[in-house]
């Protein structure tokens, strides 16, 4: 029995074809994965399956019946619910009101006490431990997502789209989400799961559909599709990640050192040495304090005690400008918030830290700025219309490359990158990690802070943090299971 089907859907935005006669068929009660590189048309398919966009050609069927007209929002909401990549929770309203958004009453006055009770019942039925009268803006990312799932189910939909739900969650939260997805499946809920992480697809999905360049490439049961074939279908040719590339062994000189760094509530007594030409991994779950360590080195946070040295010279605590001037490159965790200025051009973003060096007396030389940006576009393979394009218009992977270009702009002695490949596709991942390795080849010391095994595989060694402390120094040759076990503290 087919729960949902999109038949030969074409959608154009101006000159770009977002979907070209693409199709997807999702069987009742199965968890179906939709994968593809950035720009493959996944998001457009989600908008079409949720009735937010009208296909130029083709049609959508629910259980064999044509989908309701776009104006019938209630009709769509009964058939399909979506947990979007961008949260659709309204932060200034309570959890209860978010749950019953636009159906707080049957037209008469809203009875708040009853609404709160009904919301509390829904939350308890779906096992979401959040008070109904809490402001939604005060919830954690995971709680917000659970709220969205509960809202979807309570609206009566038996088909749920999860658009990259794991992108913002840490390891344990992802496991909890998967547990919940298995529970929903047992209750007969049909799911469409979108993710960049293929291991997740293998873990929770029954079937997988691959889109490439706006087209449908293949649909198959996950169990019958080897991972290499899946990657090949996504990229069009075989790509293997994490092969050890030839890099000279690291030098002897320590370029970045932390000594006994402690910040209450975040991390304790963290010491590490990064040598020139070395790529050092700093692994740990979302709550391990690894990002706080990196932010301390970059000057975004100030440690309670301990010290950091760049090239033997103490770094002034809490001073980003001084760290940049001393030769530290930094890729922050949240590229949207701290990574780039969306309206400024690629060239300006990439040269922000070194603008002072590009001209005299406080002026910025536009040709030099362009020259640097053009070089970076080549080196990092940034897909853009040119150095003048605002970074806000680039796709996630390309925006992340712009952030990395910025971190590399001052030829850093040491480079600190947090989650360099979060939410980017396979090909972009390869380019980003390649650039990180190139920096090491050029003599920089690199600290890669991540919990993604793909990121950490390029490292010469990996320090694992758990609950704010470094618990292990892993040389090359670790297995994924070993690493994950250490990060989750079950080793």
């Amino acid at each position: 029995m087919t729960a949902v089907e999109a038949v030969d859907v074409t959608k154009r935005f101006g000159a770009t074809v977002a979907l070209a006669a693409a199709r997807i068929r999702i069987e009742d009660g199965r968890t179906h994965a939709l994968v593809g590189r950035n720009g493959a048309g996944k998001s457009t398919m989600v908008s079409i399956l949720t009735g937010l966009a009208r296909p130029d050609e083709g049609s959508v069927l629910f259980a064999g019946e044509p989908a309701p007209p776009l104006s019938d929002r209630d009709g769509w909401r009964r058939r399909v619910a979506c947990v979007y990549q961008r949260s659709t929770v309204i932060p200034s309203l309570s959890v209860a009101e978010n749950l019953f958004l636009n159906r707080q009453s049957d037209g008469g006055p809203i009875r708040w006490r009853r609404l709160r009770q009904a919301a509390q019942e829904v939350l308890e039925r779906y096992g979401v431990a959040v008070p109904a009268d809490r402001l939604a803006g005060d919830l954690t990312v995971e709680q917000r997502q659970l709220l969205e799932i509960a809202r979807a189910l309570s609206a009566g939909a038996r088909f749920i789209i999860l658009d990259e739900p794991t992108a913002q969650l840490d390891g344990p939260a992802i496991e909890r989400l998967f547990g919940r997805m298995r529970g929903m499946k047992e209750q007969g809920v049909t799911m469409l799961f979108i993710s960049h992480h293929l291991d997740e697809v293998y873990e929770v999905c029954d079937d997988v559909t691959v889109f490439r360049d706006a087209r449908h490439v293949l649909t198959a049961p996950v169990a019958e599709l080897p991972q290499a074939d899946l990657v090949a279908a996504m990229t069009g040719d075989a790509v293997s990640l994490g092969e050890r590339s030839d890099r000279p062994s690291p030098g002897e000189k320590v370029v970045l050192r932390a000594e006994g760094l402690t910040l209450a509530g975040q991390y304790e007594d963290v010491s590490l040495d990064v040598r020139g030409g070395e790529v050092l991994g700093l692994a740990g779950s979302g709550s391990s304090g690894k990002a706080a360590v990196a932010e301390t080195l970059a000057g975004l946070r100030r440690a309670d005690s301990g010290a950091a040295y760049l090239d033997g010279v103490p770094l002034r605590p809490g001073d980003v400008a001084a760290a940049v001037a001393a030769g530290l490159g930094f890729v922050p965790q949240d590229r949207g918030r701290e990574g780039f200025v969306p309206l400024l051009s690629l060239a300006e973003n990439a040269t922000l830290p070194v603008a002072g060096r590009l001209g005299r007396y406080g002026t910025v030389s536009a040709p030099r700025q362009r020259a640097y940006a053009t070089r970076m576009i080549d080196e990092l393979d940034i897909r853009t219309s040119g150095p003048a394009q605002p970074v806000g218009e680039l796709s996630g992977g390309n925006a992340q490359k712009a952030v990395l270009a910025r971190a590399l702009s001052n030829d850093p002695t040491a480079l600190v990158v947090i989650d360099p490949t979060a939410g980017v596709d396979v090909r972009a991942k390869e380019a980003l990690l390649g650039a990180v390795e190139n920096a090491a080849r050029g003599g920089s010391g690199v600290l890669v802070v991540s919990d993604d095994p793909d990121d950490l595989r390029v490292c010469d060694r990996v320090l694992v943090m758990f609950h704010g402390r470094i618990v292990r120094d892993l040389p090359r040759g670790w297995s994924d299971q070993e690493l994950v076990a250490l990060m989750e503290g079950i080793a």
Binding site: T88, P91, Q104, I110, D133
Partner: protein
Amino acid sequence: MTQQSERMRMAPISIRLGRFRDLTLVPVIIVLLGAGAFVSPTFLSPENLLNVLQQQTALALVVLAETLILISGKFDLSLESTVGLAPALAVMLVIPPEAGGFGIGLPTFLTIPLCLLIGALIGLFNGFLILRFQLSAFVVTLAMLIVVRGLQLGLTGGKSLFQLPQSFLYLGSASWFGVPVSIWITGVLFAAGIAALGYFRLGRALYAIGGNADAARAAGVRVERVVWGVFVIGGVLAALAGVLTTGWLGSISANQGNGWIFMVFAAAVIGGVSLDGGKGTVFGALTGVLVIGLVENILTLRGVPGEWKQLVYGGIILVALMISRVAGGKAQD
């Protein structure tokens, strides 16, 4: 079980805090009432307090309009010009040429409906430019502020209109049961606003739209239609404010409403309405209006020279902002 009981204990506290945000200006109002009584023995007399309210009614209606628009995440600067143009144009359609009219001579009972209709049309046009043309609300209504004021100046030749129909002056000047009609009207409209935004789906939709328009759309709210409606209601309320002002003053000057928009924003913002949309209440906005009205009255009773009033207003708005910031706890956006 323990989780359950914990929840029970938590619930009333957070509700109380939620209401408390609405009441941050109440202490300020009490302090002002005390200060007023100290300044002048006549301050707390019913006549004076009614006078304070009466003088704030027109401004309060514009604040109500702006509050609805701000909560929906939009802006309207042109309201203050509507306060002048709507009554002026309506009256000119009715009165004879020798009194400054067009000489069309429509029946006088149509004056008020015409005035409100003109307000609605200005709101409709604002909505058209902002929603259909997808222009920034700030810039559109800034231009409309000048256009609408300019239209009034052009049509009246910059002169005041004195010979107005009696029926048009009634609402702004009469009293029912010893309380001015304008206070009744404003009170009823604020009560309606509080009820609509607190207890009705359509009113809650404004919060959803201002908080996250995409989320509201996904939940089935007809975002464009609702926002457009809010602009129309805003225009009508501003026109009604014009009717009340005209009735109170007995004439329409060429700069009726001029400069109000600063006070309107000040009242809304110190009343807790966010300029980013999605936050604030009608009741909060009302307390903002009251604070401004009381300050104005105290300054008058104290005999502060007109030249200094502006400075004192500004200072008091800043102090009120700081108090509500400290009491409300969160940084203001």
